[in-house]
């Protein structure tokens, strides 16, 4: 008899009441990573004249999708990745579809290996991410070459890969903090 009532409803005493405002707050926090990618893509398409703006668009999208796909997949579902990719595609002028495809592939990899990646240290995760960043840039370069029917210099692609790999640690620091605070739906 005691056993029947010994497992009370989980957090029944501490969970706040589900109001419309709280649901909205939770949705906003869960959508924070996708909104971040879209906001950066639109902001970086403005003519600021900063060198490497287009490459940063790609790099930020790759880092964000990779981090959230393995650390909290609920905040970055496949459909959100697709939408983010579409926004980046619309606000950039590279070969169409490459960023979108790269994001979906990197999402698939990170989502599939999320348990392994969570156990690995930061450096190992960064190394694996680097390999995929280089592969995605190489794919983009190959498509541009195919479209131009000429062998173009791979230097811009290498720069893009280097920039993507380079901004990963600082973005990870931001996301780790965000996962605990502003992008945490449980804190709503």
């Amino acid at each position: 008899m005691v056993a029947e009532n010994s497992t009370p409803h989980l957090h029944s005493a501490v969970e706040p009441r589900q109001t419309f405002r709280r649901a909205l707050d939770m949705a906003a926090r869960a959508a924070m990573p996708s909104l971040f990618v879209m906001f950066c893509a639109i902001l970086l398409s403005a003519p600021f004249g900063i060198p490497g703006q287009a490459q940063l668009q790609f790099g930020i999208a790759m880092c964000t999708v990779w981090f959230w796909a393995y650390s909290r997949p609920r905040s970055m579902p496949a459909l959100a990745v697709f939408l983010c990719g579409l926004v980046v595609e619309i606000f950039s002028f590279g070969p169409p579809g490459t960023v979108l495809l790269s994001l979906l592939v990197i999402y698939g990899v990170a989502h599939h290996w999320r348990y392994g990646l969570s156990r690995l240290g930061f450096i190992a995760g960064w190394l694996i991410f680097s390999i995929f960043a280089v592969l995605a840039s190489f794919f983009q370069w190959a498509l541009v070459c195919l479209h131009a029917v000429a062998l173009l210099s791979p230097a811009p692609g290498l720069f893009q890969a280097a920039l993507t790999i380079g901004i990963y640690p600082s973005l990870t620091a931001l996301f780790v903090w965000g996962r605990r605070t502003f992008a945490n739906p449980d804190q709503a």
Binding site: F48, Q140, W141, L143, P156
Partner: protein, 309 residues
């Protein structure tokens, strides 16, 4: 309501379906690139006011910094400007004299005046190059008459050509883009060449005459061809390596602000049919033997091909 099993299957199928859609977009980009670029142009059209708002603080800060820098060394700047003004006054006199002489010479030659090109001035909305291409979007306002192939210039020289036209925005492919090929004339050696962009700051010169190599430092101008008029300033020749002449553009390709797009029309340089090339209609055999047919007609027209031989 779907069963748990069906929902699991659906969840697993979402990613492959999305990847297939992305592959479809890649293929669409390879086959029908203008369709994709049209959507991007529409998005830029929509965002153009927001871009101006975003860039406005940066522009203000740049202006303040320039003012501040000017205020710190006023005396030096003043003397430099005075010197420059003196030089410019000299050049103004030379230009006025040359214009008068030019007008006189043209008058004595019965020179047919060239048509004045139509132009619109636009502000660069966005640098939409990406890693592999060099292009800018210009906000030219609604109701413009810009056509594909029109020529874009900044204050100093040739910048590129229009490749796509939207309702408010046009896309200009710059001369240093990998896809850009501009026919040019070298002012001193009088050779023709093609200026080919290679995604670096200075486009290469190719297909120049092998017995007349470009000379270091000589001026490069456009060669009149279809919509491209002759004599637009492009830049100067520089050898970046032996046997590798490049053009150092006059236009500042990295920092673009105000750009003018000229429409020179495309039917100016159509060659007329030369009389010698006109196909002569076959004349009747021995037309003068016997009575002429239709001799009762008052005026027989001239036979084609007889005049101007």
């Amino acid at each position: 309501m779907l069963s748990i099993h069906a929902r699991q299957v659906l969840a697993k199928a979402v990613l492959p379906i999305l990847i297939l859609l992305a592959v479809g977009l890649v293929l669409l980009g390879l086959v029908r690139r203008p369709a994709v670029d049209g959507v991007r142009l529409m998005a830029t059209d929509f965002m153009a006011p927001a871009y101006h708002g975003l860039v406005w603080p940066q522009e203000r800060v740049t202006v303040w910094l320039m003012d501040l820098r000017g205020a710190t060394d006023l005396a030096k700047e003043n003397s430099r400007l005075r010197e420059e003004n003196r030089a410019l006054r000299h050049w103004y006199d030379v230009a006025v004299a040359l214009a008068a002489e030019n007008g006189r010479l043209k008058k004595s030659l019965h020179w047919i005046p060239e048509t004045v090109p139509q132009y619109v001035t636009g502000r660069v909305t966005r640098d939409d190059g990406g890693p592999y291409s060099r292009a800018v979007l210009l906000d030219v306002g609604s109701g413009h008459q810009v056509r594909i192939g029109d020529v874009a210039l900044d204050a100093a020289g040739l910048l590129g050509r229009v490749t796509e036209v939207g309702p408010h925005t046009v896309r200009v492919l710059m001369i240093n883009d990998d896809a850009s090929r501009i026919p040019v004339t070298l002012a001193a050696s009088h050779g023709d060449a093609i200026m080919a962009g290679d995604d670096t700051a200075s486009p290469r010169l190719i297909f120049y005459p092998q017995d007349h190599h470009p000379v270091e430092g000589e001026r490069v101008e456009t060669r009149g061809q279809s919509t491209m008029p002759a004599g637009l300033p492009v830049g100067t020749v520089h050898y970046s390596a032996p046997n590798r002449p490049v053009v150092v553009p006059d236009a500042d390709l990295d920092r673009l602000d105000i750009v003018r797009v000229f429409d020179y029309g495309d039917d100016d340089s159509q060659a007329p049919d030369a009389p010698g090339r006109v196909r002569i209609k076959k004349l009747p055999q021995n037309p003068l033997t016997g009575p002429l047919p239709f001799s009762w007609l008052p005026n027989l027209p001239d036979m084609p091909g007889r005049g101007g031989q």
